[in-house]
């Protein structure tokens, strides 16, 4: 996916709940590029325009798994705390 598609899909999937400035996506992508979690390659869109496509790497998937489990632990903890109230 290229940047615009990523922004759109975040919006769509989250059903417009997560409304961030779309521009902040780009520094985040750069940081992931440095870490080697994604790779970038120029390609052409359906409308025949040049766009940079980002792809998750194996290292990226691993990191995602790590982040997910971290996130679930935190969410789980928060949920439990809230339910206990």
């Amino acid at each position: 996916m290229h940047g615009y598609e990523i922004a759109n899909s975040i919006q769509r999937i989250s059903a417009n709940v997560l409304q961030v400035e779309e521009g902040s996506l780009y520094p985040a992508l750069q940081r992931m590029l440095i870490k080697g979690w994604v790779t970038a390659e120029w390609g052409t869109t359906a409308g025949n325009r040049r766009a940079r496509y980002y792809k998750l790497t194996a290292a990226g998937r691993k990191q995602l798994a790590v982040e997910m489990s971290q996130f679930e632990r935190v969410i789980g903890a928060i949920t439990r705390v809230i339910e206990a109230v």
Binding site: G3, E22, Y26, P27, I34, R50
Partner: protein, 874 residues
């Protein structure tokens, strides 16, 4: 390995920065365009759609910056930008740039030149195996003692000695004199030399009656053996004997102190001398065992000395051996001179830096308006400091590079000027250590001395400064007082250097005016040595000498005489003196006096005045009553209240009944060992009454009315007409020997004088800059004063008073500093106290005059200020 890959990615981004920016730009553009289309399709107008897309995206510039910062090269880009900007600024003001770079280049260049000498002489290891373990015994020793020490020592792993003897080498076209190092087998082994061809002598061959073997220096091999790769096994003729070459030394090898072209075994060459316990003529080198300290070695040596003294009371009663680390032995007397010079040149650098800082400060004040605007536009304080520092670091790096050029030139000048005792220590050149030194010094200079102006720049209060719009302000007053302090320090440091130089100059002129005791001008000397094989017997030696003088008398326009050791020639023989009728002194406790033999009208030729009695005549010869002439020092020391003429003296330790000599005359003292050395008591005897076979050497003293170039050749021809196998060496003009003996002092004086002059110029520039700046600042004030009726004289006084105050403070601090520092150079001074009041006064006056002259120029300019112009100047 992850971080490595990450680093690689970051680096590749740095390499393709431009591509990166373009990619990001395109990406953002696409994003905005797609969003805009989407909004447009949902029914907005084109303008609304664009605005919405932008709103949704956020601050695009900020995002781009954030993306770049993520890669972590921001500091680098800032620096590159600062450097580019700094370079542009420097190009824009070439005058300022040139002065700043030149100032630093002078300071750094002079430092680098001296540092490269220190690096070569004091810091580089000696060219021997494990040189730190090597020590020398200060005292000369005899071979039997050396062998006893080798057997008894527990502190040394190896050791050996050398005695250098000039010998004639008669293989070439003319007989030449070569220096033969007569060594024991331990000598070359101790220094750890690996021959490039063949081998070194083994202990089995280093014995009485052993084979005649020679190890030749690389120099000898190249010059006399034609660099023959098969030289090993050849025979060479030395002193009338055939020696087989067994080894060739590497070119890098030379004995630490001695010059030698060939090495032979002392046992083989001179079995008689080698066996004499009291013939202390070898200089010995020792290798201290691993883990043994110098103090332990010294204690071990003392124990050996005690044993030898007990065992051989007649010869070794007074025995005492002092160990000195070889490095210290070699650089000992040069060390203090070099350190003083290094200190001095460091002070020059300080002055240069003060000037540099003061230049930067002036510039910072001039640019303050610009900095303030930058600050107002949001430049951080750190960023402003960094920008100013980058500029000064840039200047200092350029200064360092230019300094390196100066240093290259300065080093070759130093090498040309270097005195004899530095000449042997080669390796004075600019190497990586020197380059590192330059880099560190220049960067430190730039940063340390760029700090103050940067700080002033950063302190600027934006609102306040903008209001003032360039009028003189608190910051500039502060900058001004810092500059004053800098100039005062410059003057103080310059005074210290001037005092140092003044003291050396005074010492040198004292030294030059020392009466050597003879008239050197027009005297030529040459050294001859009679080969043992044909001149072993004394009558034969005497016959040669007498015949030679007779023949040389026929050369027109010259007077010739001979002496065993020429003054300032570096040779010295001493004997223990016994005076007839005095209470006997313990054996070995007799006073040591210099002994010289002469033939011909020596005192007349050298113009050494006769103080009492008579000179030698041709009748004072073999078979006649033995006579002696003493110098005034003998009279002062041993005959303070009596007439020495007619007193009988002889040498202690003579075998058999004393052979008395009658003192027949007194001559003036001669500086034999150097102009700065005390005169030793000395006794002259006629060569023809000489009873020591080993005195086969002599130096001719030739006084020529006009020294034509053919003279030396003519004398050589006469010598060779008598014996074609006698080498002639050390042909010198006596004036040259005097110059050599002054060389170290001259070197010190010239360099320190040069540094002081540099310091004086830099300090003068400094005070000139400060006064002219403050005078310009006061143009307005001066205009008002003139308008109110102040005379030109008053204006002149106003400005000059400012300069005089600075000069006075600088001189006062300088005198205090000099009093504290010149003590360090006491060892370099000859008959001048480090606190010599005349030098201090003279130097203070000189500095005051120069400082006032430097102030006079801006003062005169201020004096001419037209009040109308000055008042309108606002």
């Amino acid at each position: 390995m992850n971080w490595l890959r990450e680093l690689a990615r970051r680096l590749s981004m740095l390499m393709h920065r431009r591509q990166f920016d373009a990619d990001l730009e395109e990406e953002v553009r696409l994003h905005l365009a797609l969003r805009q289309e989407e909004q447009f399709e949902s029914g907005m107008t084109a303008d609304e759609a664009r605005a919405a897309a932008r709103r949704q995206f956020g601050n695009a510039t900020y995002m781009k910056e954030e993306s770049r910062i993520a890669w972590g090269w921001e500091w680098f880009e800032n620096m590159a930008q600062d450097v580019r900007y700094g370079a542009r600024m420097l190009r824009k003001s070439p005058g300022f740039t040139a002065v700043a770079i030149l100032t630093l280049a002078l300071g750094i260049g002079a430092n680098t030149a001296i540092f490269s000498v220190i690096n070569g002489v004091l810091l580089s290891p000696l060219p021997y195996k494990n040189p730190k373990q090597l020590v020398v015994i200060k005292e000369h020793d005899s071979l039997p003692n050396v062998m006893d020490i080798q057997r008894q020592t527990r502190a040394f792993s190896q050791g050996g000695g050398i005695n250098v003897e000039p010998m004639d080498y008669t293989g070439g076209t003319e007989p030449v004199q070569v220096l033969v190092g007569r060594v024991d087998a331990g000598f070359l082994e101790t220094l750890g030399v690996q021959p490039v061809l063949g081998r070194i002598i083994s202990p089995g061959e280093d014995v009485q009656g052993g084979p005649r073997l020679a190890m030749v220096s690389n120099h000898f091999w190249q010059n006399y053996l034609g660099s023959d790769p098969h030289a090993v096994g050849n025979t060479i003729q030395l002193g009338g004997n055939s020696y087989t070459v067994i080894g060739v030394m590497p070119a890098s090898f030379a004995p630490p102190v001695e010059h030698a072209d060939v090495f032979v075994s002392l046992w083989v060459d001179d079995p008689g001398g080698a066996a004499e316990r009291d013939l202390h003529f070898m200089h010995t080198y020792w290798r201290v065992k691993e883990g043994v300290t110098l103090a332990q070695a010294q204690a071990d040596m003392a124990a050996i000395d005690r044993r030898l003294a007990e065992q051989y009371p007649a010869e070794e009663k007074e025995r005492k051996s002092h160990l000195v680390p070889l490095h210290e032995w070699l650089v000992g007397d040069v060390r203090s001179a070099l350190l003083v010079l290094f200190g001095a040149v460091g002070l020059v650098l300080l002055i240069a830096c003060a000037n540099f800082a003061s230049l930067l400060m002036m510039r910072a004040l001039a640019e303050r308006q610009e900095l303030v605007i930058r600050a107002a536009l949001g430049a951080g304080r750190g960023r402003l400091i960094r920008k100013t520092l980058t500029e000064s670091a840039l200047l200092s790096v350029f200064g360092g590079a230019a300094g390196l050029l100066f240093a290259k030139w300065g080093t070759s000048m130093l090498l040309a000027l270097r005195p004899e005792n530095l000449a042997r220590l080669n390796g004075i050149h600019i190497d990586t250590r020197v380059l590192l030194f330059v880099l560190v010094v220049s960067l430190l200079t730039g940063i340390a001395f760029g700090m103050a102006p940067a700080w002033i720049a950063a302190r600027a209060d934006v609102a306040e400064a903008l209001k003032e719009s360039g009028r003189s302000t608190t910051a500039s007053t502060m900058g001004h007082s810092i500059r004053r302090i800098l100039v005062i320090s410059e003057l103080a440091v310059a005074l210290v250097l001037l005092v140092g130089a003044g003291l050396l100059i005074k010492g040198f002129s004292r030294l030059r005016s020392v009466n050597p005791g003879f008239n050197s001008s027009g005297v030529i000397t040459m050294y001859l040595q009679l080969p043992e094989t044909r001149y072993g017997k004394i009558p034969r030696q005497t016959q040669f000498r007498r015949e030679l003088l007779t023949r040389l008398d026929t050369v027109p326009g010259v007077q010739v005489a001979m002496v065993s050791d020429i003054p300032l020639g570096g040779n010295y023989v001493g004997h223990r003196l016994v005076i007839d009728g005095r209470p006997p002194v313990a054996v070995g406790g007799e006073p040591l006096v210099q002994t010289l033999s002469v033939m011909g009208d020596y005192f007349h030729v050298m113009q050494i005045p006769l103080r009492a009695g008579r000179e030698f005549t041709p009748l004072d010869r073999e078979g006649q009553p033995r006579v002696a002439i003493v110098n005034e020092e003998i009279v002062r020391e041993f005959f303070p209240h009596e007439d020495p003429i007619g007193v009988r003296i002889c040498w202690a330790g003579d075998v058999g009944p004393p052979r008395w000599m009658t003192v027949i005359g007194v001559v003036a003292d001669v500086k034999h060992s150097g102009l700065n050395q005390p005169t030793d008591p000395a006794v002259y005897t006629p060569f023809s009454q000489n009873d020591e076979r080993w005195r086969r050497f002599m130096t001719l003293a030739i006084r020529a009315r006009d020294a034509s170039p053919g003279l030396v050749e003519e004398v050589k021809k006469q010598i060779w007409s008598l014996d074609g196998q006698i080498p002639v060496s050390d042909v010198h003009a006596m004036d040259e020997l005097i110059a050599v003996s002054l060389a170290q002092q001259r070197f010190n004086m010239l360099l320190l004088g040069l540094f002081a002059a540099l310091a004086l110029i830099l300090a003068a520039v400094g005070i000139y800059g400060a006064i002219s700046y403050s005078a310009t600042q006061r143009t307005h004030e001066i205009g008002i004063r003139t308008a109110l009726g102040a005379q030109r004289r008053d204006v002149l006084r106003l400005v000059m008073r400012d300069g005089a105050k600075i000069a006075f403070l600088g001189i006062a601090f300088g005198i205090a500093g000099a009093l504290a520092l010149t003590r360090l150079m006491a060892s370099l001074l000859f008959e001048v106290k480090p606190t010599d009041p005349a030098t201090f006064t003279g130097v203070a006056i000189l500095l005051a005059l120069v400082a006032l002259a430097a102030c006079y120029i801006p003062a005169r300019r201020a004096m001419r200020v037209d009040p109308m112009v000055a008042l309108r100047y606002e």
